[in-house]
Each structure stands twice: as structure tokens, then as C-alpha cells.
């Protein structure tokens, strides 16, 4: 199970986090009170040129000094602080959420066309694999992930999510089976600009994981969802493919459909499947992926998890449940369900 919801305002109008909190809470049937989280884009305008690095520290002594040390080597910390939190009765504080606003040096990474991103990716992989008591769970610019173990409303109130204003929001209500009670296991998952919420289980995880690991990623979160973020980073950022093509690689049409396409389309889809076979995601899933430019929602090729779309002028909503969308926006129009594997794309239009 799990409930997901995402929204974008295509004109970049900002929304505070209160309505998505209410929408997510409506889907409590889909969760178990052991994990919830939010991602928002456009929330740090004062530091928009810095990477906002969110870290869970077990304590502020050894792990933090190691992370500080690494950040000092790779760039400049413009500002850092504890992420403001507010005790909630139903939420046990397991970590200290911290944030750095960080500018990496761009001349330190050899052989890269996106050196700053690669420095950040390196820092994330290093920290999460090798520094005990520190976990970087958010690393994009002008965006941030806020998550913990608890019911959606408690997590939202813990971070006082209504204090943040973003033009894209993702949220996730978790029913864990693999890693309950672990803050790192809550969604959204994030790497650089990519944030992912996911309902389902990826049966091709072993294949996908070995593929992204052979491309320099390290899977350290003990959950299948993180490979989605890495696959989007690999195909979208490093291979420069537009998001609809990335979705075609991850949830491609069946060969029977490809065989019946017009020649040009057939050639393209054939090439995508041959090249990105190891990136194909199998098993039941509904996923919403975001970057600062927009959101993409899609399901597995036979749609074993629900996904509903709604629109209202500049707003596009993607969710597990129509009712959740209606909580956010009672006047929502054009509610419909996309076909299996069909990407729903909301792009900024400013």
C-alpha cells in the first residue's frame, strides 16, 4: 500500500504545506503511522544558488564533525542550522535534522560535465555509506525533503510544514514492510534535484540496482525506491533524455505494441528497450518524480497501483486517491486516470 500525492503550480505560484498535509492525512488508511514525508520546491529563495543538504544526525559530535570536514574539503558552507522542529506527542525523535546551504568547488571533479552535481553526489554516497550516524536525505537546490517516522499530520507538524512555501509539493504516507521505524526509509527519496515518492514494490530491484551501481551509484537506503531517483538522475541528467523518454525506458510499451507502431516510433521504442533493458522497472508501482522544472507521474506497465490526475487552471494534481485531491482543491476539474505506463507530465510554464 502507501499513499502518494503531488502537485505543481505551472505558473510557479507558491502554496504552503497545510493543504497537502490534510490531503495526505486523508489517506491514513494507506499508511501505518510509521513513516511520512514531504518534498517542496522553491522553499529556499534566499539560498537558491546553494545546495540545501538535509542530514539526519544521530548526535552533533562525531558524525557531524565528519560531515563538516568533508564539506569543507569539497566546497564552502554558506550557512548551517538545525532544521526547526516542534515536539509532537505521537512522534519519537530519533535523529537531529540539520541543514547546510553549500556551494561546492567546481574544479575538483575531473572528467565531469556537471562537476558541482557530481561533487554533491559523491558527498551523498560517501556520507550514507561510510559515516555512521549521518544520513543525507535531501541534496537539491532551493528544495527540501522533510520526513520522519509517524503519521502524516505529526510529521508535518513536527517540521511545521505550513511555514514552507513551494510551487511543487510531493508527499507520501508509508505502510512499511521492509524497514519500519527508520526515518531514512520514509519517502520522498531525493538525490540532487530529483525527488521521488513511490507506492509499490519493484520486483526488478536486483537488476536495476546492479545497473545503477555499475554506473557509479551506491544504494545505501535498504529500499527499492532509491534506485528510481538514481535511474532518473542517470537517464535524465547524465544521459540528457527528456522525462517522457525516461518514463518510456522505465515503463516501456510491450513488444506487441511496439511491433504495431509506425516505423519511426517503432525504431525509437525498440532502441529504448534494447539500450535501457536493465533500467526497466517491473512489479507494481505508482511513482511521482519531481525536479525544479516539473513533475512526472507514472505507473507500472500493467497498472497494479492506482494513480489519479486532476487539474485546476495552473495546478496539476497526481495522487493515489481522488478524495485526497479533492481535499486539497474542492474545485478540481478534469479528474481522470492515466493508462498503464503512460506518463503524466506537469511542466513549469513561466
Amino acid at each position: 500500500m502507501c499513499g502518494i500525492i503531488g502537485v505543481i503550480d505551472r505558473k510557479r505560484a507558491l502554496m504552503d504545506g497545510s493543504s497537502i498535509r490534510d490531503a495526505l492525512s486523508l489517506m491514513n488508511e494507506r499508511g501505518s503511522g510509521e513513516g511520512a514525508g514531504y518534498a517542496a520546491y522553491g522553499i529556499y529563495p534566499d539560498y537558491q544558488d546553494c545546495y540545501a543538504i538535509h542530514v539526519f544526525f544521530d548526535n552533533l559530535v562525531e558524525p557531524k564533525s565528519q560531515v563538516d570536514h568533508m564539506l569543507h574539503k569539497w566546497g564552502r558552507i554558506v550557512h548551517q542550522e538545525a532544521i526547526p522542529t516542534y515536539e509532537q506527542e505521537g512522534l519519537k525523535r530519533s535523529h537531529i535534522p540539520w541543514r547546510y546551504f553549500f556551494k561546492p568547488y567546481s574544479d575538483l571533479m575531473a572528467g565531469s560535465t556537471t562537476p558541482e552535481d557530481d561533487v554533491i553526489k559523491h558527498i551523498v554516497m560517501e556520507t550514507n555509506s561510510n559515516i555512521q550516524g549521518a544520513l543525507i536525505f535531501s541534496s537539491g537546490k532551493n528544495m527540501g525533503v522533510f520526513k520522519a517516522s509517524g503519521w502524516p499530520e505529526d510529521v508535518a507538524n513536527f517540521y511545521r510544514i505550513e511555514d514552507y512555501k513551494g510551487y511543487i509539493w510531493l508527499a507520501h504516507n508509508r505502510y512499511p514492510t521492509n524497514t519500519p521505524g527508520w526515518w531514512g526509509g520514509a519517502h520522498p527519496f531525493n538525490l540532487l534535484d530529483w525527488a521521488v515518492v513511490h507506492n509499490g514494490e519493484i520486483t526488478s530491484y536486483g537488476t536495476n540496482r546492479r545497473y545503477v551501481e555499475s554506473q557509479g551509484y551506491t544504494c545505501s537506503m535498504f529500499t527499492d525506491t532509491e534506485v528510481v531517483a538514481y535511474l532518473f538522475d542517470l537517464l535524465g541528467r547524465r544521459h540528457g533524455l527528456p522525462e517522457d523518454i525516461v518514463v518510456k525506458a522505465l515503463a516501456p510499451p510491450f513488444w506487441d505494441e511496439i511491433d504495431n507502431m509506425p516505423e519511426k516510433e517503432q525504431k525509437l521504442n525498440h532502441a529504448i528497450r534494447l539500450t535501457y533493458g536493465p533500467a526497466l522497472m517491473n512489479g507494481p508501482f505508482a511513482i511521482v518524480v519531481a525536479t525544479h522544472e516539473g513533475i512526472v507521474g507514472f505507473t507500472d506497465r500493467i497498472k497494479l497501483r492506482p494513480l489519479v490526475i486532476g487539474e485546476n487552471e495552473d495546478r496539476l494534481y497526481i495522487s493515489s486517491e481522488e478524495a485526497a485531491i479533492r481535499v486539497m482543491d474542492p474545485d478540481v476539474q478534469n479528474i481522470h486516470m492515466p493508462r498503464a505506463g503512460e506518463p503524466v507530465i506537469g511542466r513549469l510554464n513561466v
Partner: protein, 503 residues
């Protein structure tokens, strides 16, 4: 003093009450176990190979066969086999020849691997109701796609793909040459792969005219003897395979005895009638990896870069490094033949002692290629000892793109794995060129049996995938997290990169 006779391997007897004296056993046994004296059928058990042809043709089920009717004094080290081999070699001073695959009781890794299935948290997929994709493409794949998205939304593909072989099922039939097996046997296999949308290998025996109608399903082989190779042969194949090594006999060449080189075999192989066809151990133009790369390129040039080229090696300790070298050439696929791979004729000491199991070889090859970021440059085909659809699923989960089967396909045509292929007297008409025996094998009937086997395994593979919640074969490939090792040691689990059961 004489060494005397060694005890019988098999004891054949006839239930005289059941026997109706039809004499079919006499006609059926090409090894001469039965003969007639007056009205009586006399049995010479010493000649029996346990090929079961008499048993399968007896209308009264009157024949019984017992293995090792005479006991030796039991001894854990000096087994009966060890003693018999010594007696035979004391007599002959020669290498002991053998047929079929490795006959030592090594543990079978496949049998210590179990597959996964879905429940509750993710649904299994029912292949009867949902699409299940087993289509497999063999060949080089680009590491990434370059596309150009135009302002009007049109997407232009800039990357050019190299030719790949399209298989409807990841099961192919390995290389067994005309010469090693009969034309009728090869014809049966050819008809079967055509029916099932897959491919088979010609072996190093050339391509007989009778197989021409099936050439679009044939992979032609270039081995160290270069028998049967000319431009006509290369152009007829759907793909070309360079054979460097064979799982049953890593490090040595091949030998087709002159007695098997009849008129037809001589023409197809392009060698003199009745001459021994001896393939040297190394290719005489390949003494390092770059020489192999040159041969790959030469074959590609000769066929205008239209055909995939495979390279087959035996699974040995450094198979992974060799495969990485092959991936850097223009080759499209590497075939790894495990130490259980079959053979028509192989020195027993090689068959039973040289090489490593296919399970470990495939896992380490897939891993090495991934570590070097070149897995996309080459397809991996596993072969050698694949007995059922579970072995296929496990091979793919360990990293193979497709498999070759050999012995399995022969068993579907009647073979009972008696292991006497090198003697050319196969009563099933498979490993023989004797016209009266070859005639026994009807390609129409046997092709259907082989096709049925491929169909059954394909169906079972779909079911296994569906149960694992996977509807496309590429999501099974190298998906080691869907395997668990049962009673495998830590070292092997580490090589296979598979967790133990319960973990």
C-alpha cells in the same frame, strides 16, 4: 599373465515367459548385444551401453537391465571406475575417450539455488491473463541513447544500433556438428528452432544443403579446424560463432574419426573422404586477445557488418577476464560453456576434471563486465548442463541473456545419455552416420519433440517469472536478489552474489 576381463557394466536379461520371439531387440541393438541361435535369443551383456533402444522397442516389456551386476570390494578411494580405467589403460597405453558431459558427482550449484515468488506486498502476475515477455535480443547495445527533441515535439533518434539477433524465447540449441550428429538429427533441431522462433548452432561441420531452408535460424561456427568455412557458409548464417573452447574439453581441440567422415560429411566439411578431422587446440591465427579481435573484425568485414559475431569459450578460472577482453572486440556475444557441457568425443580426464561450473562462470562474467562498465557491449549466453526451465531461470538471474541447450535437445529425440557418441553406432540415429541407424530418426516427428521441449520450458519460464512478479525477461536478468542459496558455502555465495536462504 593376463589381466582377465573386467566385470560387466550392465546385465541384460529377458523374461522368457513374456518374450514373444519377435526378434526386434536383435534388429534394434546396433552394439550387437542380441543374436539368434535357432529359436533362441542369446544375450551378450558385455556389449550393452544402456542406450535403452531395445527396451523402448520391446512390445512386451520383457527386457530388464541392471547396472553393475558384479560388486567390487568396496573402497572409498579405489572406486570401480578408477580400477577399470587403470586396467583399460594398462592394456592400451592410450587416452580414455568419453562422450556426453562431466560424469563426476560434483555438487550441482543449480540444485542449491532457489527462486523467489511474490505474495501480498506485491502481486504475482498470471501469464494466462497478462502479457509475459520473453523476447530476447542478442548483440551489442549502446551504453546510452542520443536523441534530438525538436521544438515541435518530434523525437529524432541519433544513435545507430548494431544488428541484434531476435529470439522469441531465451532458449537456443548449442553447436552440434553434422558429423558428430546425423543429418536427420540436425534437420530435426533446425525444424524445431524454426517452429519456436529461436536459433541453433551448426558446430564445426559446415552447413549441409538440406539445412539451407533453415539458414535464417542457424548460427554458423568458425572453429580452429575451419572445416566447412567459406563465404557462402558465412553469408547463409544468421550469426557467426567463433569457437575458442568447449566446456567438455577446455584447452584442447576436436577430433572427428575418419570412420564418421562419409561422402556427405566430407563434402560439407570440405575435407577428404575418410580422413580424420582434427581441430587443433588453439586457432593457428589466434595467439592473443588482439588476434581474436582481428578475426572477429575479419568475419564482420566479410559479411558487411550485417551479422552478429559470437565467441564461445570454455568456463575456466579466468573466464571473466577473457570475456572482458572479448567484450572490447567487435564481438556481439560471449558464450560461456560450463564444465558440464556435452561432447561427442572427449578425453575423459578433461571432461571430468577441467573447467568450472556454468553457474559460477556466468555470475563472475556478468559481474566483471558490470564492474568495468561494459556489460552492454556484449550479450552473455550460458551453456553446459542446463537440464530444465529452472536452470534457465537461474542462469538468467545470475546474469545470462540466453542459454544454449544441447544434451536436453538430444534427450528429446530419444538419447538416453549412454555416453557412447564417439563410437558412431548410436541406435537412436543421433550420433551416427550409419544410414540404417540415421533412417530411424524421423525429422518430422523428432522436430516436434524438440519444439515441444522448448515450448514447455518457455511456458514454465513464464510461470516462474509471473510468480516472481516480473513480466519481462530483462527484469530477471542479473536479478540476483530473487535467488537464494541453500547450503552453499560463503565463498560460493560471494561469487554468485546471492544471499543465503532466510536472509
Amino acid at each position: 599373465m593376463s589381466l582377465g576381463s573386467v566385470p560387466l557394466k550392465y546385465k541384460v536379461s529377458i523374461d522368457r515367459e513374456q518374450c514373444m520371439h519377435c526378434m526386434r531387440c536383435i534388429d534394434n541393438c546396433s552394439y550387437g548385444v542380441f543374436h539368434r541361435e535357432d529359436d533362441r535369443i542369446i544375450i551378450d551383456s558385455r556389449k550393452c551401453t544402456a542406450c535403452h533402444h531395445c527396451i523402448s522397442m520391446c512390445p512386451r516389456d520383457a527386457i530388464t537391465l541392471k547396472e553393475r551386476p558384479v560388486d567390487y570390494r568396496s573402497h572409498p578411494l579405489w572406486t570401480a571406475e578408477a580400477r577399470e580405467d587403470i586396467i583399460n589403460q594398462a592394456r592400451s597405453g592410450k587416452i580414455i575417450l568419453s562422450g556426453m558431459g562431466n560424469a563426476k558427482p560434483y555438487p550441482v550449484i543449480f540444485d542449491r539455488l532457489v527462486l523467489d515468488a511474490c505474495q501480498v506486498t506485491n502481486p504475482s502476475i498470471d501469464p494466462l491473463r497478462e502479457p509475459m515477455e520473453l523476447r530476447t535480443y542478442l548483440g551489442k547495445k549502446p551504453s546510452r541513447l542520443e536523441i534530438n527533441k525538436k521544438d515541435n515535439g518530434d523525437v529524432e533518434l541519433l544513435t545507430k544500433l548494431t544488428p541484434n539477433l531476435k529470439l522469441d524465447t531465451p532458449i537456443m540449441i548449442g553447436h552440434m556438428s553434422y558429423g558428430a550428429i546425423s543429418l536427420n538429427a540436425q534437420l530435426s533441431l533446425a525444424k524445431a528452432v524454426e517452429k519456436t522462433g529461436t536459433f541453433m548452432g551448426t558446430g564445426e561441420g559446415g552447413l549441409h544443403e538440406a539445412i539451407y531452408p533453415y539458414q535464417k535460424n542457424m548460427i554458423v561456427q568458425v572453429a580452429s579446424g575451419r572445416f566447412g568455412v567459406d563465404i557462402n557458409y558465412l553469408e547463409r548464417g544468421a550469426a557467426i560463432e567463433i569457437k575458442i573452447g568447449q566446456g567438455a574439453k577446455p584447452g584442447i581441440g576436436g577430433h572427428l574419426p575418419g570412420e564418421k567422415v562419409c561422402q556427405d560429411v566430407s563434402c560439407t566439411r570440405m575435407i577428404p573422404l575418410g580422413s580424420d578431422a582434427i581441430s587443433p587446440a588453439p586457432h593457428h591465427d589466434i595467439y592473443s586477445i588482439e588476434d581474436l579481435a582481428q578475426l572477429v573484425r575479419s568475419l564482420k568485414e566479410a559479411t558487411e557488418w550485417k551479422k552478429p559475431v559470437f565467441v564461445k569459450i570454455a568456463a575456466v578460472h579466468n573466464a571473466a577476464a577473457i570475456a572482458a577482453g572479448i567484450a572490447r572486440s567487435s564481438a556481439d556475444a560471449v558464450v560461456i560453456d560450463g564444465f558440464r557441457g556435452g561432447s561427442g568425443a572427449t578425453p575423459k580426464v578433461f571432461r571430468d576434471n577441467v573447467g568450472i561450473p556454468i553457474e559460477a562462470a556466468v555470475a563472475s562474467v556478468d559481474q566483471k563486465l558490470k564492474d568495468q562498465g561494459i556489460r552492454n557491449k556484449i550479450s552473455v549466453i550460458a551453456s553446459g548442463g542446463i537440464r530444465n526451465s529452472a536452470d534457465i531461470a537461474k542462469s538468467i538471474a545470475l546474469g545470462a541473456d540466453a542459454v544454449y541447450i544441447g544434451t536436453g535437445a538430444l534427450i528429446a529425440m530419444g538419447c538416453r545419455v549412454c555416453g557412447q557418441c564417439y563410437r558412431g553406432m548410436c541406435p537412436w540415429g543421433i550420433a551416427t552416420q550409419r544410414p540404417d541407424l540415421v533412417e530411424r530418426l524421423d525429422p518430422e516427428v523428432e522436430s516436434e519433440h524438440v519444439a515441444n521441449l522448448i515450448r514447455s520450458w518457455t511456458l514454465e519460464l513464464s510461470e516462474l517469472m509471473g510468480a516472481a512478479g516480473i513480466n519481462s525477461i530483462e527484469s530477471l536478468r542479473s536479478n540476483r536478489s530473487r535467488l537464494r542459496g541453500y547450503m552453499l558455502d560463503e565463498g560460493t555465495l560471494d561469487v554468485l552474489q546471492v544471499k543465503p536462504v532466510g536472509a
